[in-house]
């Protein structure tokens, strides 16, 4: 069914039926210049404030403006909102809002039959259709039979709404159609518009003409739903039963920055944040650059190496050194990370992983830097590696990294990824006094008996001494040092002792790792093991199967190095273990799989995917069911 109504009917409109739904997945898709990310984030804010649980998946091209109307230029934003607890942005959309033929072509295969398409018919011109290989207009040729299609010339409606406004040109009319679509979505999902109007007023307060245009177009989109008899029902998604508290809607990179600033305050320690811009990590720098009043000094370095080195220099000065990057930048930092291992200084390195190798797919997610983080340096160069599992969890992970780095005098790598970095979810705000414990940092000022590499017996950390402390002048550096005095030492036995103690220090961190918690079945047939941003999809998939009586459990690792000490015992409770991650191949296995096999000799199975997108719960569910039946897990390419 294709409904095409471009002019409101004269008859008084019939009120559509309100249908209540548990969850809805909307995907906004259009050209890179169509403002889809903005529409998506604005609508996300609206549903979050209405109390729905949310999860989002922005998916945009690496090019700022790929050629207009092409498949390469399609930018998408998927929002899952629900009256129940949800953990993923949804496998497939229920509603597809497409601004041009390219957006339709890219997303249609994922839309289930019966799904709703709201298409900007004005952009379905012959030229645009040809660009993406449509011989005929799919809105007219019957090929969309089985979907509920609403074809609306949004551009024409925008033009009408803006008629007579001075100072508005064609470009601005064209650019405002995302606001029109947003207005229609507000109507379709029965959201109060007042807040949105306030936000628009705030956003465009410096430009009254643009504000007026946006308000008119947004209201026109909303009124369109009201006045045409196009839609027979609207939808209501009730608020989710969430824990009482104050909430805000947050994204992963923002949470990493908030976590770092919080840690700086909690440690009573100034922080030096050196970074070089790189997708998808730059937002951490952008966010933290606003936190200068939290003891954070930011430094945009000339390159990734300088960013890392400046952080180490600051750390020697008794200031917490932090740097943030993505895979290719992380590769450049590795040599200097080895220096931080050797000098035993507290530095935090955040890697917002993206698809590689090389430049790879800069805006697409992957988990393929694990081995690089664990083993990517010359020599035996162990350091702590931890991973964040969700946008909100980036906050706690950043704080944990600061705590470990200062407690053990060591570099700590934090792995996040493009998916959680840009994904949004509601955050129940913590009590800043009660919920976030202080971070204890000690500087040694007593020169009596001071040895540069003398160690705390419990943590094996050497003492942190700030330059400026009298009678404790000492040198550190990349050359091997004497086990105690820190003088340069080429002694062969001393080197082995130092390699040992650097490794032992990392193993000591196990005393800071809490007991592993398995979700779902506590023992039985299959343990699903994951790490990082796959948390939501794995959790939801396992919960579904566990609820249907399958003996399946889920263990998600925050600590990748050292691994928790109780893993062998947990693995032994299950007949099979499958390691799921967004890296590797179905033949060679994934990186955590390899790491676990090497460390624990566990004959684990693996399930990997490298398509720049998160796991879907459907493909995971199919894989787990196959393994439970005793069959091999299907390739993620075939699901």
């Amino acid at each position: 069914m294709v409904s095409r109504v471009d002019t409101p009917s004269d008859k008084p409109p019939k009120k559509p039926v309100v249908e209540t739904k548990k969850s809805v997945v909307i995907r906004f898709a259009g050209d890179s210049g169509d403002g889809m990310q903005l529409t998506g984030t604005e609508f996300t804010r609206a549903v979050a404030i209405a109390g729905n649980d949310i999860a989002t998946f922005p998916d945009y091209p690496a090019e700022i403006r790929a050629p207009v109307g092409t498949l390469a230029g399609v930018s998408g934003y998927q929002l899952h909102f629900s009256s129940e607890a949800i953990h993923t942005p949804g496998d497939a959309p229920d509603v597809l809002v497409v601004m041009n033929p390219a957006a339709l072509k890219r997303s249609l295969a994922e839309l289930p039959r019966g799904g709703m398409i709201i298409a900007n018919s004005g952009a379905f011109t012959d030229a645009n259709l040809q660009k993406v290989g449509y011989q005929k207009n799919p809105l007219e040729d019957g090929s969309l039979e089985g979907y509920r299609v609403f074809a609306v010339d949004m551009q024409a409606h925008c033009k009408n709404a803006l008629e007579g406004m001075a100072g508005i040109d064609f470009k601005e009319v064209s650019r405002s159609k995302n606001m029109w679509a947003l207005g229609l979505m507000y109507w379709l999902f029965n959201r109060p518009v007042d807040k949105q109007l306030e936000w628009l007023k705030d956003k465009f307060k410096k430009n009254p003409a643009i504000l007026e245009a946006n308000l008119r177009v947004f209201k026109a989109g909303h009124a369109f739903g009201d006045t045409v008899e196009l839609f027979h029902e609207t939808y209501q998604v009730d608020s989710a039963p969430m824990e009482a508290g104050t909430y805000r809607n947050v994204m992963g990179n923002q949470m990493t920055a908030l976590g770092l600033a919080t840690a700086a305050v909690k440690a009573g320690l100034p922080m030096f944040f050196g970074a070089y811009p790189i997708t998808p990590a730059s937002d951490v720098l952008h966010n933290i650059a606003k936190f200068k009043n939290y003891g954070v000094t930011t430094f945009q370095a000339e390159d990734e190496i300088a960013a890392m080195c400046s952080a180490i220099g600051a750390a020697y000065g008794g200031v917490l050194g932090v740097t943030c990057t993505s895979g290719p930048g992380f590769a450049l930092k590795l040599e200097a990370m080895g220096l931080a291992v050797m000098m035993e200084l507290p530095v935090v390195i955040i890697d917002v992983q993206r698809a590689g190798p090389s430049t790879g797919l800069p805006t697409k997610t992957e988990q393929s830097d694990l081995l690089q983080a664990l083993y990517g340096r010359n020599g035996d160069s162990p350091l702590a590696v931890i991973a964040a599992q969700s946008p909100v969890d980036c906050f706690a992970t950043a704080i944990e990294a600061v705590r470990i780095a200062t407690k053990y005098m060591t570099p700590v790598v934090v792995l996040t990824d493009g998916y959680i970095a840009n994904g949004a979810e509601p955050w129940k705000l913590p009590d800043v006094e009660k919920d976030i414990p202080p971070i204890e940092v000690k500087f040694r000022t007593d020169p009596n008996g001071y040895q540069v590499y003398g160690r705390d017996p419990q943590t094996l950390a050497r003492a942190w001494v700030r330059p400026g402390t009298p009678k404790m002048e000492h040198r550190v550096g990349g050359l091997e040092k004497d086990f105690l005095t820190g003088m340069v030492s080429y002694d062969n036995v001393n080197h082995q002792k130092m390699v040992d103690v650097r490794a032992d220090k990392v193993l000591r961190m196990r005393q800071d790792i809490s007991a592993s918690v398995v979700d779902g079945a506590q023992e039985g047939d299959l343990l699903v093991v994951g790490w990082g941003g796959t948390y939501g999809a794995l959790k939801q998939s396992v919960q579904r199967l566990a609820a249907s009586g399958k003996k399946i459990g889920h263990l998600h690792l925050r600590w990748l190095n050292p691994l928790p000490g109780d893993l062998e015992a947990v693995f032994a409770r299950f007949k099979k273990v499958i390691v799921c991650e967004l890296n590797g191949t179905s033949k060679s296995g994934g990186q955590l799989w390899r790491h676990l096999r090497a460390e624990l000799l566990v004959p684990a199975l693996h399930y990997t995917k490298v398509q720049g997108t998160p796991f879907t719960t459907a493909e995971l569910g199919a894989a787990f069911e196959a393994v439970l039946r005793g069959e091999p897990a299907p390739s993620s390419l075939k699901v």
Partner: protein
């Protein structure tokens, strides 16, 4: 909220602080670490180390506030020999580490020790950005025109045609002139000295007094792999007076015992040598050195002069005061602090909030 977290750059301890060294007059020996110095016998680095250790007690800076940062190479072992704080870091990256340290701790007196391979090859980029940002760092470039620690390959400052282990038929690379490079990077202070000459002491004194990055090229001899690299300027008593132009601020640029001077031809925009012995009447044409000239245009001319066409300028070529990087960074930090310092409640409870009852 601890006061340590307030965005204030840490201030240097008072000279009389208990346990400090401020009131006790230190000597050169107090700056000699226990590490055995392991440069080759006759290496020019010894002379530089001795000069720096002699200078340190005269600077009025507590020893505990001094930090020496180096990269990799023969000269980069320097920090180990100084009884101060110090870091021996990654090849080429000392400027980046030192910048991080100086910005984080503006109260410290930070020195960078580097060589021609370290800072002009692998670390060229960091050198560029350090100079343009202008943090208060004292940079000592040990230029011996060779890779010493890797046993004798030509370096970015080796002359064209240099026969070395890696260039048996002569290097085809055109060499870099470090001071011209530094000027191109907007360096606020550039100077040059010879490792064994007494002029080094004064140059380092002036470098230390400069607010901003002070970039000092030290013509240093590698006795094993490039002996005589600066022969005419450093070792040959006959050529030395003709090869050295010792710059004195606000004084005429005279050399060869005052018998020659440097003039400047406005038509061709080139310097020239005036033989005052032959033409004493042209004394008024001799340029007067002005190291603080904000335009820096004469510094460019001086930096481009090389022997034997010209004497090589030694001393301070340019000294120009502009805002330092650390001061500007902390000015922003302080301005931001006006919004209130370290209020986590405000940090976390911002944006669009909603309550679930």
């Amino acid at each position: 909220m601890t006061s340590a977290n307030a965005p204030q750059p840490p201030s240097p301890p008072a000279p009389s602080s208990p346990g400090g060294n401020g009131l006790v007059k230190l000597t050169r020996k107090d700056f000699q670490s226990k590490s055995e110095v392991r440069w080759c016998p006759g290496c020019g680095d010894y002379a530089v180390l001795a000069t720096v250790q002699r200078l340190m007690p005269e600077l009025g800076v507590p020893r505990e506030n001094m930090v020496f940062v180096s990269g990799i190479g023969c000269s980069s072992r320097f920090p180990y020999y100084m009884e101060t704080y110090g870091m021996h870091t990654v090849h080429g990256r000392a400027p980046a580490l030192a910048t991080g340290l100086k910005v984080a701790r503006p109260d410290l007196d930070v020195w960078v020790i580097t060589g021609d391979g370290d800072s002009l090859a692998i670390g060229g980029n960091h050198t560029l950005h350090m100079l343009r940002r202008n943090p208060t760092l004292k940079v000592l470039l040990f230029n011996n025109r060779i890779y010493g620690l890797t046993k004798g390959q030509y370096s970015p400052s080796s002359e064209q045609g240099k026969v070395s282990k890696s260039s048996p038929m002569g290097a085809v690379d055109y060499p870099i002139n470090p001071l011209q490079f530094a000027l191109g990077c907007q360096a606020s202070f550039i100077a040059r000295a010879v490792d064994v000459d007494k002029g080094l002491y004064e140059v380092l004194q002036k470098a230390h007094a400069h607010k901003g990055t002070a970039y000092v090229e030290i013509l240093q001899n590698c006795v094993v792999f490039n002996d005589g690299a600066w022969f005419d300027i450093r070792d040959n008593k006959d050529t030395k007076p003709k090869a050295q132009l010792i710059l004195v601020d606000k004084q005429p640029m005279l050399f060869d015992g005052g018998k020659k001077g440097i003039g400047f031809d406005r038509a061709t925009m080139k310097p020239f040598v005036i033989d005052l012995a032959a033409e004493p009447g042209r004394a008024n044409e001799v340029l007067v050195h002005d190291e603080t000239d904000p335009s820096g245009s004469m510094a460019h001319v001086l930096a481009g002069m090389s022997y034997p066409e010209f004497p090589v300028p030694l001393g301070v070529l340019r000294r120009h005061t502009r805002a330092t990087y650390e001061d500007m960074v902390w000015a922003q930090n302080k301005k931001a602090a006006e919004k209130g310092v370290g209020d986590l409640q405000k940090l976390i409870y911002s944006g669009d909030l909603w309550d679930v009852k």
